[in-house]
């Protein structure tokens, strides 16, 4: 890590959007908790949409917490690294997360998002239920229920947008973005 982080570049890049919260770094449980409190506080005036943003944030942050393939050691503990931004425009709140994933997961993630975006609400509900029903959590490798992305799509009621960019032979940057309508 000899390359110096360019704060100027970072700041200029982010200045185009109305950013409410932005974080990049180790996604610890304490950070997730603090950001979630901040979301609740900032969106308190818009409770129904705010709760949706909060629920989506938790699912996306936990994805990074468990699955990001970039990590750092702090005080003897391993923390996975990722980025999360909450921005707004006149009509929507938008949560965008970014983290590094192993390339082998890209086709799986891509297909999954495409399938979710092409399904109507009833199909998504059925899909979520069936996937939750498959396998018991006690034996599952996955830490969660494995249905986080479907839940994110159902909660937001808008398409999920995903983007990948190759970093090297084995790793890619994965960005996921989802919006929630204001004043629901």
């Amino acid at each position: 890590m000899s390359k110096k982080f360019s704060f100027f570049h970072h700041y200029v890049n982010m200045s185009d959007d109305d950013i409410l919260i932005s974080y990049k770094g180790p996604m610890s449980d304490v950070i997730i908790h603090e950001i979630s409190k901040e979301i609740q506080a900032k969106l308190a005036e818009d409770p129904k949409s705010g709760k949706k943003v909060y629920a989506i944030f938790i699912e996306l942050a936990q994805n990074i917490f468990f699955y990001s393939s970039e990590s750092t050691m702090l005080g003897g503990k391993t923390y996975r690294i990722g980025s999360i931004v909450l921005s707004q425009d006149e009509e929507n709140y938008t949560l965008t997360t970014g983290n590094i994933v192993e390339k082998k997961w890209i086709p799986i993630l891509w297909d999954r998002c495409e399938m979710i975006n092409n399904a109507d609400r009833e199909t998504l509900r059925k899909m979520k239920f069936e996937q939750r029903d498959q396998g018991t959590m006690s034996t599952e490798n996955s830490k969660g229920a494995g249905i986080g992305l479907i839940q994110v799509a159902l909660t937001s009621a808008q398409p999920i947008s995903v983007e990948f960019r190759d970093i090297d032979e084995t790793k890619s940057f994965f960005a996921l973005s989802v919006s929630v309508k204001k004043n629901l």
């Binding site: 699912e59 239920f129 959590m137 006690s138 909660t155």
Partner: protein, 127 residues
């Protein structure tokens, strides 16, 4: 059989209030559920219910009263509802209530999904 009571804690994670009464069969999970190791928390809860259905064999009036839970928690709720369904099919007396804040369509929809996809009666109550 002893009652199962777990005080809900709100710190970095949120654990719900759990009150299971072994003499009346009144069971409730209330509050918020978002945990680091979800299975670790719900395992003894499922074990208690299983023991109750095998030893006490009394009626169960189960109430989900949550304002927020993550998808991993929902997996454990499914395990609970399935256990209750099995008990009912074997002759147990079971009532399931699912409360949700009036403006929370996401929780209401999910309760409907448990009801429709599992084919079990659930009283869905907005408040």
């Amino acid at each position: 059989m002893e009652n199962l009571i777990i005080e809900g804690v709100k710190s970095t994670y949120f654990t719900p209030h759990v009150t299971f009464n072994a003499s009346t069969g009144e069971c409730s999970i209330a509050g918020e559920s978002y945990l680091e190791d979800t299975w670790d928390f719900y395992k003894p809860i499922l074990a208690w219910l299983k023991q109750y259905t095998e030893e006490v064999k009394g009626p169960i009036n189960f109430t989900f009263d949550l304002t927020y839970y993550n998808t991993s928690s929902s997996k454990c709720f499914l395990d609970i509802v399935k256990l209750l369904k099995e008990y009912k099919e074997n002759g147990g007396q079971v009532t399931i209530n699912w409360k949700h804040p009036e403006d929370d369509d996401d929780i209401r929809e999910e309760a409907e999904d448990y009801k429709n996809f599992l084919g079990i009666d659930i009283n869905i109550i907005a408040y």
